[in-house]
């Protein structure tokens, strides 16, 4: 096991950032730390890197107790949200930094820098200054710089958070492919559930300084351990006292199945290929349902039509907590 966090706690004054957190991160995988802002995920990443020290608990990297090691002795690569480029150095010099610190020969440094710049598609920008690069290019350079020292683990703190949506999506796909090429144990922090579901092998959901659930994207989506996880990973609606995803509700114009919940269609909204309907049940609940446009047409879905709702077979459901 590559990274072992045991009973780590951290407070900033009165604010508890991490409360007795234990996580094991497997070697060679891409793991996402997912959660809302202020939930403690960045703090956990910085504790793994040694940029922040834990108040209590242990951090192990590749079987070595790293709790008291300074960052430079942990052999981790760290990528910052705002790139943290060395502004006074060229792109090539930025990437070479870690190697020069390690007193590698000039030829070796040059060769490795060239190789890495090729990997991140920045070969033609080697002699530029960082200020001449776009945000996405800077972050790729920062990634190459972190990879140059051949870290045992690569840590990324909201790496695409400062980029616009399109570049973000491109880099996300690219990171996934890069990880398949260079399978270094990677942990990245994100508050974007789509990013985590798309890129990660494993997701650790962190909220309020605690780990809510650990699992593969499928496990988390299909078998959420709590209300919070279910709500954070996708849309949720409530049908007969259970939380369920709107696309997991079957809607029909005839009372087919036993136990189906009858109701009236309140609103219908079409967004591209899908149709979102709000149904008022006879118990007075407003339930959201998502279905395809063809399905909606087939059952003649429109406002004030009477419909029957049933949870789809095998749908992820979580009993709703207190009424609300």
């Amino acid at each position: 096991m590559s990274i072992q966090i045991s009973n780590v706690s951290k407070s900033f004054g009165d604010f508890v950032a991490l409360d007795d957190v234990s996580v094991t991160i497997p070697t060679g995988q891409l793991t996402a730390l997912l959660g809302p802002s202020g939930g403690g995920k960045s703090t956990l990443l910085r504790i793994i890197a040694g940029l922040e020290s834990a108040d209590a608990g242990l951090v192990g990297i590749e079987g070595v107790d790293a709790t008291k090691l300074p960052p430079r002795k942990r052999n981790v690569g760290f990528v910052f949200q705002h790139y943290a480029v060395f502004k006074h150095m060229s792109v090539a010099k930025n990437v070479a930094f870690g190697l020069e610190i390690r007193k590698k020969s000039k030829a070796e440094v040059a060769e490795r820098v060239e190789e890495l710049l090729k990997l991140v598609h920045l070969s033609q920008f080697a002699d530029r200054m960082p200020s001449q690069l776009s945000g996405g290019q800077r972050q790729r350079m920062a990634l190459a710089r972190a990879l140059a020292v051949e870290p045992t683990v690569l840590l990324l703190d909201e790496p695409f958070g400062a980029l616009d949506a399109k570049v973000r999506k491109e880099l996300r796909d690219w990171l996934r492919r890069l990880h398949d090429e260079v399978p270094v144990t990677t942990v990245f922090v994100t508050h974007d559930q789509e990013e985590a579901l798309e890129v990660a092998d494993e997701i650790v959901v962190i909220n309020d300084g605690r780990v809510e659930q650990i699992g593969s994207p499928e496990q988390l989506y299909d078998e959420p351990a709590s209300d919070f996880v279910m709500g954070f990973l996708g849309e949720v609606t409530r049908l007969n006292g259970i939380n369920i995803r709107p696309h997991d509700i079957e809607i029909s114009a005839i009372p087919g199945l036993a136990g189906a919940t009858p109701g009236y269609v309140l609103r219908v909204l079409r967004v591209g290929f899908e149709v979102r309907a709000t149904v008022l049940t006879e118990d007075g609940d407003e339930v959201s349902v998502v279905l395809t446009r063809t399905h909606a047409q087939a059952i003649g879905l429109e406002e004030d039509v009477r419909v029957w709702l049933t949870p789809a077979v095998g749908a992820a459901v979580v009993p709703a907590m207190a009424a609300g």
């Binding site: 940029l51 300074p70 960052p71 480029v85 060395f86 930094f97 870690g98 972190a146 020292v149």
Partner: protein, 269 residues
């Protein structure tokens, strides 16, 4: 830009230029005029005077050490103030501004009280160990350091705060130790602030008068700096020598500023 009517614009310019001209440019130009009234004769005569030569050398020595010491302490204190939290930080920050608000004469007197060899609080101890501070070069360097103390710090602190510590953290995560991080990352990013701080300190140190006059004892040819020579010559009715020495002091300061402004555009281009 604020849109201002043309006559107002011209009036504002006239006021600004006139103010600087009557306060700075005109008086200083008279020093130059007086110095070269007899061609180069005044300048060469003055430079041939051993008491002036000694004073210029002493000024250079005192200014050099004051700048070196202020540079080392200034950068260290700046990093301490910006990067670390500790009790008493605000008090330290406020203390650094004291030399700006206290008259240099008071500074000189304060140093005299602590370090003089006969009745000072600390002076006799030092003197019995063989160090004379007051009426000697160390005291003059201390007085000059004191008055120039905030100049490096007030230049470096805002730049250091603006740069942030992201780059330093990145360097540390890439394996750099504290010394390597400082030399390769921190220093290059505050380079220009440091240069400006040094130039300002140098100019201030060259021109220091009040504090140095008190702690030096003003012994001709021994502890007399260039500014003290200017005063003495002027009072002894050797106006030409006073003007020529003033000219040299002013020229040195102007040279500093010119050199910096010549160097700087290359950096940003």
């Amino acid at each position: 830009m604020v849109d201002v009517a043309t006559p107002v614009k011209w009036l504002l310019r006239l006021v600004a230029v006139g103010y600087v001209f009557f306060l700075v440019a005109w008086p200083v130009s008279f020093i130059v005029v007086e110095t070269f009234a007899d061609g180069l004769a005044t300048l060469t005569d003055t430079l041939g005077d051993p008491s002036v030569q000694g004073a210029l050398l002493l000024t250079a020595e005192v200014a050099f050490w004051a700048v070196v010491i202020n540079l080392a302490f200034g950068v260290t204190i700046s990093i301490l103030l910006v990067r670390y939290e500790f009790p008493g930080k605000r008090v330290l920050s406020a203390l650094i501004d004291v030399p700006l608000s206290v008259s240099p004469v008071v500074v000189g007197l304060a140093l005299l009280l602590v370090y003089n060899g006969r009745t000072g609080w600390f002076g006799p101890t030092l003197e019995s160990a063989g160090y004379q501070v007051i009426f000697s070069t160390p005291g003059m360097i201390m007085a000059t350091c004191f008055v120039a103390l905030p100049l490096v710090i007030r230049e470096v602190v805002p730049v250091l705060a603006e740069v942030g510590d992201d780059q330093e953290q990145a360097a540390r995560s890439l394996g750099a130790n504290a010394r390597q991080t400082f030399l390769r990352i921190t220093l290059p990013s505050i380079k220009w602030a440091v240069v400006y701080g040094v130039v300002l300190s140098l100019a201030r140190s060259l021109g220091e008068f009040g504090a140095v006059k008190i702690v030096s004892g003003n012994f001709t040819g021994v502890t007399q700096t260039a500014t003290l020579v200017v005063e003495q010559k002027y009072q002894n009715f050797e106006q030409e020598a006073a003007y020529a020495t003033s000219f040299i002091l002013a020229a040195a300061s102007v040279l500093c500023i010119v050199v910096v402004s010549l160097l700087r555009p290359k950096e940003s281009a």
